[in-house]
């Protein structure tokens, strides 16, 4: 495939063509034009390169007109003839205006965030910054709305929708009662009730909410008692320290009680007839 013709070269070719027209040619062969363009390009490049050299030689970064003149001189051209050429020959053709270069449009669907404008030290012609997510951060979702009211609102609606969907489904898939006499369009269907045996189980073991196991076993009183006990114990200890002799006894007593309690609580030795093993029929006869 033919490579995209260079824009500058295209312009150069246009300039050569207009010059040829000035000289009186009507047409030009493609090869001739190409050669002329090539020559012209080589000439300009050479001139520019020489000018740059002179400029650098003079310790500058940007060439001035004198550098260009020196470049021409170096090339063996009379710089002054350029002016006369410009004045004498009537230039009929001008270069076509440069086509507005359409910058490659970003696909809008991929746009995320607003692009940052170029800072002042960067020339405006340079390409714009890419989308911020490409180099600053990448937000994967919208920032949540965190004001209380809408959160509650949303949660409420969500919960209700869920419940509605569930009840609607259940009502559609099972028998229903109708509150109205007409059969058509039961807008308020009631799911028919079915007896469940034993009825107390579902009532006493509700399923409408799931509680933490600690809630289900929560015993505020025992906590208070525990705190008090600790408190009392601490107090007793202080007292015992103050009164040396009777204090020891107290503490011993306390310890004794405690050990007894803990033993009881372990439940290893509960003497309850309902926990005892069933006797064999023979045993009774013996006893």
């Amino acid at each position: 495939m033919e490579p995209q013709p260079n824009v500058y070269r295209k312009m150069l070719a246009a300039a050569i063509s207009s010059m040829l027209l000035e000289q009186g040619y009507d047409s030009v062969e493609r090869e001739a034009l190409g050669t002329l363009t090539e020559m012209m390009q080589a000439f300009i490049t050479e001139t520019a390169s020489l000018s740059k050299n002179y400029c650098e030689l003079a310790g500058r970064v940007e060439p001035v007109i004198a550098d260009v003149i020196l470049g021409f001189v170096e090339m063996g051209f009379n710089f002054n003839s350029l002016e006369s050429y410009y004045r004498t020959v009537k230039h009929s053709a001008v270069l076509p205006p440069l086509q507005q270069q359409q910058s490659q449009k970003q696909l809008s669907m991929l746009a995320a965030g607003s692009k940052q404008p170029l800072p002042s030290h960067i020339p405006q012609h340079l390409p714009q910054f890419p989308d911020p997510h490409a180099y600053v951060r990448t937000p994967t979702h919208k920032q949540p709305v965190i004001d209380y009211e809408s959160v509650r609102e949303k949660a409420a609606i969500q919960k209700r929708d869920m419940e509605k969907a569930l009840t609607k489904f259940l009502a559609k898939t099972s028998q229903t009662h109708n509150l109205f006499d007409t059969d058509e369009a039961n807008i308020f269907p009631l799911i028919a009730c079915k007896p469940v045996y034993p009825p107390y189980l579902s009532a006493l073991l509700p399923q409408d909410q799931i509680f933490d196991p600690e809630d289900l076993d929560f015993d505020p009183k025992s906590q208070i008692i525990q705190q008090q006990k600790n408190h009392d114990r601490a107090k007793k200890k202080i007292k015992a320290e103050i009164k040396t002799e009777p204090g020891e006894e107290v503490e011993q007593e306390v310890d004794h009680n405690e050990s007894k309690n803990s033993e009881d609580n372990q439940g290893g030795l509960i003497d309850n007839p309902y926990l005892a093993a069933t006797k064999m029929p023979g045993v009774m006869e013996i006893s």
């Binding site: 569930l166 006499d181 809630d215």
Partner: protein
């Protein structure tokens, strides 16, 4: 009569020991085969008959000392209460028959259903003080009462199905499941054995000695022994696949529950040991038994029932730790059951009429425990509401006599002897109050409440410490007696009676309480005071007037004695003890403080605190408020008249919750901005008792509705609610639920409910309130809560129901109601209700509280015309197999439906449930619902007032409910509510009875088992009364016999006489009522409408007494009727007894209910096997 006849000495024998052995317990056939052996010690050498109690048992054999076979007879008068009287449909007549029937089998009347005759060949076994063993083999098939088999119709093992059984009964009803002496006064030691299948546990009274496998290893026998003398009504049994939980604090205590409920059981019984400790400490006496068992079973007769060493409680008392409301009820029930272990089980009573003592003491103790654990406010509120209940019942039905066994001692001073008044008091109920099995359950409930109040009054009279010492003494005596053998004769100490108790008080305290007992225990009724006051500015006195106007009205009597009046003045609280001697007492009380409106000074209250008050609204009088008998030391109702600002001060500043409650009730009548402010401040006051705050909210509803025309601002309480429960950022959105603060929890439940009662000028609920309620539903969020919100949600649904007002009919009358014709608000409400009800199917909440509220709301929508009124929905929820609360709610709706626009079919549906439902507790509650919402008003000629209903109810009370006296008495209540005590109007007169067949309704079709009830057999439905054949069996001795022939005639003659005697009385009555100034609406006794039986009576009188007074007031007639009844009571009874013994009829019965089969006993040997104890 030196020695009075009491429950413990009326029998010619004593019971020493009893063995109960149930071997064949079958859940499939719901039957039991068993054996009992009573060791009887005759008190006479010539004892020829042993009368025992047994009901619905089939008795195979009665043996004496294992060797002799004894003849026996069995009869149950409750199978046909009015034997000879086939046509009477009046409660007046039924009442006397009912009592006679009850007395005929009352063990305390030395009678029983089962009469064992000692054969002559065994006569030598009988000797005074020598033990005689009476063994009885029996079986129980398809029992209808006394023992309840719960067998859910489901597949699976016993444990999976939750199959179990337990015994229950109304008062003394142990006879329903084993033969015994069913008296509270007959105590003995027990040996109990139950053989059950391997996976089941049998729980009974006393110590479990051992559990032994049967030889085939498939069943096991539980051996219990109870060495503390105990009466038969306190014996019980529960069998089932129970989970066993030994109390971690007290290893003697064991809890049992049905499978998969163990976690709930652990939570529920967590603090039970505290009740034990409390009682032991309070009574300074140890728990009298060696063990205690709590069994939670389904379908109970009542919430709890205490038996010796065990109590049977409803499974519905169980709750998890996230439930709030149920905890109070459950703890109280358990504490009450334990208190009854001391008084009720360990200490029994001498007569049933002493029931008030045991119940009163145990409730009093339980009250003390509640005071300790729930607080003084709760306790005072309980006492106040109990007092109100008693007052309400007494004013409706008549004064309750706690102990009717003995009349109060006549007053020593002559004066206007209240004796005739007394007579009047005694028998004015429509049911006999002389036997436990004939009394209305409502009456018994109220009696027990009154017992608590009287016990508390005693506490005030002699002091708590001394009263507890009296209890302690009773317990110590009983403990001592319990360790003795029967020979010591000390077992009587285990029985309590009014006399024994009075004596005990005297010995302990030195105070003679006989007058108190006469006044409050042996006399019925309560006092009613009316207090008015005028301030005398010149003398700076307040002139009080206390009137007792209504002393002649029902249930109210005159009070004479001291009365405390408390005046709160500017300078403090001052108590004044006034002596009440007359119906009008005036007292001038000098005020301690001068009126000083402008001085700023703190005002001291009765508690000693000093508070600032805004005194601007005060009048000249320095009295801020007045109270009468503030400590509730009397049985009284009080009407105090004081201006509204005084009530407002009382509400704001009086510290006593009962005073605050009274103020709230009074303020309903003063809808002013000041009242509004006082109520609002009360609701917001965090220091205030939560029930007062809730009550204030409901009162504010009424005040706001009365002020609706000039009410400014948002609906009442909206701001308060938002302030308490609105979220911080958005006050219109309720916070996430957090029920840690119980006061707030109850407020949060009650304020929406109160707001739902608000109405705008159009009489409808303001739309913003409805929106507010719907928002509460929407934003309800319980996810972060530690407690369940099911009760809260239920109260929101209830609130939605409250907003409903009668439909404003847009569509023309008669067009069917469709979903489209609903108003927008109604649609929203209905949507909410249906959603919640449907959600409960998938995610049920605790006890289905939301479903219950939804059903109620739907009924309300129907009732107010928003929905077509249909019973189908409720019928499907009322079916057996739903949770009992749901069923009850559905039944309530059904009963309401029947009342409003029910047909006979619907009523029949309800009655079918009432008769046939498997759950005995539900039947009782259903009966109560019917009584509360009767299908039609008496004497209003309702659609359902038809003879079929009369017949159906009558058949039930007359012969269908021998096994459940509570339900029978419930139905008597219902009958009374519908027809009064006279013959129902819809039943044609006797003269016409030949035309319309009275026996149309045949219950035989329903229960073929009872098809051969003697009544039907004996008397064809004919108007001619047959004089029954008198055949008296020789075996039964009855003291006096009268000729009963020509009974009808005698009756009529006496009627004539009565009328003549009565006429002067009538005039007196008129004179009396003219003279006394009574409040409007009080003491109205004239007939208001047509009364059932009115015409009939008149007709009779015309016939019999040509010169008789035609115009007679209903009251007098009633009186006359009573007298009449008394005279005949005896005769009727005898008549029936004779009939009872008619051999033909007995045989009829034998086929169905009992067996008289006495296979001739072959054994006439072994004579010397008597034992001496």
């Amino acid at each position: 009569m030196k020695k009075e006849r009491t429950g413990d000495n009326c029998r010619p024998f004593k019971l020493a020991h009893q063995i109960v052995s149930l071997t064949g317990i079958s859940f499939e056939r719901k039957s039991i085969i068993g054996f009992v052996e009573l060791t009887v010690v005759p008190l006479r050498d010539n004892l020829r008959m042993v009368k025992l109690n047994a009901k619905q048992c089939r008795i195979y054999r009665v043996s004496l000392n294992d060797h002799y076979e004894a003849h026996f007879q069995y009869f149950d008068p409750f199978l046909d209460v009015c034997q000879s009287d086939t046509d009477t449909r009046s409660l007046d007549a039924f009442s006397s028959h009912h009592l006679a029937a009850a007395l005929k089998v009352d063990p305390d009347n030395s009678s029983g259903e089962l009469v064992v005759t000692i054969p002559p060949e065994a006569a030598h076994l009988v000797a005074e003080g020598t033990a005689l063993r009476v063994g009885i083999e029996f079986s129980l098939e398809q029992s209808e009462g006394g023992i309840h088999f719960v067998v859910p119709p489901k597949e699976g093992s016993y444990a999976e199905r939750g199959v179990h059984l337990f015994t229950y009964g109304h008062q003394n009803s142990s006879r329903l499941w084993f033969p015994c002496v069913d008296s509270f006064a007959e105590t003995c030691t027990w040996k109990l054995e139950f053989t059950v299948e391997d996976e089941l546990t049998a729980i009974s009274n006393g110590d479990l000695n051992e559990v032994v496998y049967t030889p085939d290893m498939r069943r096991k026998t539980f051996h219990y022994s109870l060495n503390v003398p105990t009466c038969a009504p306190n014996i019980s049994l529960a069998v089932g696949p129970f989970e066993i939980f030994v109390d971690p604090y007290m290893h003697e205590v064991t809890h049992f529950c049905l499978p998969s409920l163990l976690p709930l059981l652990k939570v529920t019984t967590r603090y039970m040991h505290e009740a034990f400790e409390f009682y032991e400490e309070t009574l300074s006496n140890r728990y009298p038994y060696s063990c205690y068992k709590q069994v939670f079973v389904d379908e109970t007769h009542e919430d709890y029932r205490s038996y010796a060493t065990m109590s049977i409680l409803s499974v519905n008392l169980l709750h998890s730790a996230v439930i709030i409301d149920q905890v109070y009820i459950t703890r109280k029930a358990m504490a009450q059951a334990i208190a009854e272990q001391f008084f009720g089980c360990f200490i029994s009573m001498q007569n049933w009429s002493d029931v008030w003592l045991n119940k009163g003491i145990s409730q009093y103790l339980c009250g003390l425990y509640c005071k300790k654990s729930f607080g003084n406010n709760e306790y005072r509120e309980l006492i106040q509401s109990t007092l109100q209940d008693v007052v309400k019942y007494e004013e409706e039905f008549g004064g309750i006599v706690l102990d009717p066994s003995q009349p109060p001692a006549p007053l020593p001073v002559g004066g206007n002897a209240p004796q005739p008044n007394q007579k009047h008091c005694e028998e004015k109920f429509y049911f006999p109050t002389r036997n436990l099995h004939t009394m209305s359950p409502m009456y018994i409930d109220t009696l027990l409440k009154k017992a608590l109040l009287v016990m508390r009054m005693l506490e005030h009279r002699i002091g708590q410490e001394l009263l507890l010492q009296v209890f302690n003494k009773q317990l110590s005596l009983a403990t001592n007696a319990a360790q003795q053998k029967i020979g010591s004769g000390l077992w009587g100490h285990m029985l309590i009676s009014t006399n024994v108790f009075t004596k005990a008080i005297f010995t302990v305290t030195g105070k003679d309480m006989a007058v108190f007992i006469d006044q409050w225990v042996r006399t019925g009724g309560h006092a009613k005071f009316h207090l008015t006051s005028v301030f005398n500015r010149k003398r700076n006195t307040i002139e009080l007037e206390i009137r007792q106007d209504a002393t002649t009205s029902l249930g109210i009597r005159k009070y004479v004695g001291p009365l405390l009046v408390t005046l709160q003045e500017l300078d403090g609280t001052f108590k004044h003890n006034l002596q009440i001697e007359n119906t009008v007492v005036k007292a001038d009380i000098t005020c301690h403080s001068k009126s000083r409106r402008n001085k700023k000074k703190k005002i001291p209250l009765c508690t000693g605190e000093e508070v600032d008050m805004d005194l601007t609204s005060m009048d000249d009088s320095p009295v801020l408020w007045m109270r009468l008998d503030p400590e509730m030391t009397l049985l009284r109702s009080v009407v105090i008249e004081q201006p509204d600002y005084q009530w407002q001060y009382q509400l704001r500043h009086e510290r006593d919750v009962t005073a605050q409650m009274e103020a709230i009730v009074a303020l309903e009548r003063y809808p002013t901005p000041q009242t509004r402010l006082a109520l609002t401040d009360t609701i917001e006051n965090e220091q205030c008792y939560y029930k007062v705050r809730c009550r204030a909210a409901h009162c504010l509803t009424k005040v706001a509705n009365a002020m609706v025309s000039n009410w400014a601002g948002p609906p009442a309480m909206l701001a308060i609610f938002r302030k308490f429960f609105g979220s911080f950022a958005a006050p219109h959105i309720i916070r996430q639920n957090n029920f840690q603060n119980f006061q707030h929890y109850y407020l949060q439940k009650n304020i929406p409910l109160a707001m739902a009662g608000l109405r705008n000028t159009h009489g409808i609920c303001p739309p913003e309130v409805i929106r507010f309620l719907l928002d509460l539903f929407k934003y309800n969020d319980n996810s972060k809560n530690r407690h369940s919100d099911n009760y809260y949600r239920a109260s929101l649904v209830e609130a939605l129901g409250q907003t409903i007002t009668p439909v404003v009919s847009v569509v023309a009358q008669g067009t069917p109601i469709t979903a489209e014709s609903l108003s927008a608000d109604t649609k929203l409400i209905l949507e909410e209700i249906t959603r919640l009800l449907n959600l409960e199917k998938a995610l049920p909440c605790y006890k289905y509280t939301v479903s219950v509220a939804c059903l109620d709301a739907i009924r309300k929508l129907q009732k107010f015309g928003h929905l077509p009124s249909r019973p189908t929905l409720f019928k499907s929820y009322a079916v057996y197999g739903h949770f009992i609360d749901v069923r009850l709610a559905a039944l309530e709706c059904l009963v309401d439906f029947v009342k409003v626009d029910g047909k006979w079919d619907d009523l029949q549906y309800v009655l079918d449930i009432l008769e046939n439902d498997p759950d005995p507790g539900l039947k009782h509650k259903l009966a109560n619902l019917l009584i509360k919402h009767p299908p039609f008003k008496r004497a209003h000629r309702g659609k359902l007032d038809i003879p079929e209903l009369v017949e159906r109810l009558w058949t039930n009370i007359n012969c269908m409910l021998s096994h459940d006296s509570r339900l029978r008495c419930d139905l008597v209540d219902l009958y009374y509510t519908l027809y009064g005590t006279k013959r129902p109007v819809c039943i044609p007169l006797l003269e016409l009875a030949g035309i319309i067949d009275l026996g149309k309704y045949e219950p035989a079709a329903k229960r073929p088992k009872l098809a051969t009830i003697p009544k039907r057999a004996a008397s064809p439905p004919a108007p001619v009364k047959e004089v029954p054949q008198q055949v008296v069996m020789e075996t039964v001795e009855y003291v006096d016999l009268e000729v009963v022939a020509g009974e009808e005639k005698v009756e009529k003659e006496e009627e004539v006489m009565d009328i003549k005697v009565e006429s002067p009385v009538l005039q007196k009555q008129d004179y009396f009522s003219d003279n006394s100034v009574s409040l409007p609406g009080m003491g109205q006794s004239g007939p208001v409408g047509f009364e059932p039986g009115m015409f009939k009576k008149d007709g009779e009188k015309h016939k019999t007494d040509s010169s008789g007074k035609i115009k007679k007031k209903k009251k007098d007639k009633k009186k006359h009727k009573h007298k009449h009844k008394h005279k005949h009571e005896h005769k009727h009874g005898k008549d029936k007894e004779k009939k009872e013994k008619d051999p033909n009829k007995l045989r009829l019965k034998e086929e169905t209910l009992s067996s008289m089969s006495s296979t001739p006993s072959p054994n006439g040997m072994s004579l010397g096997s008597t034992e001496t104890i």
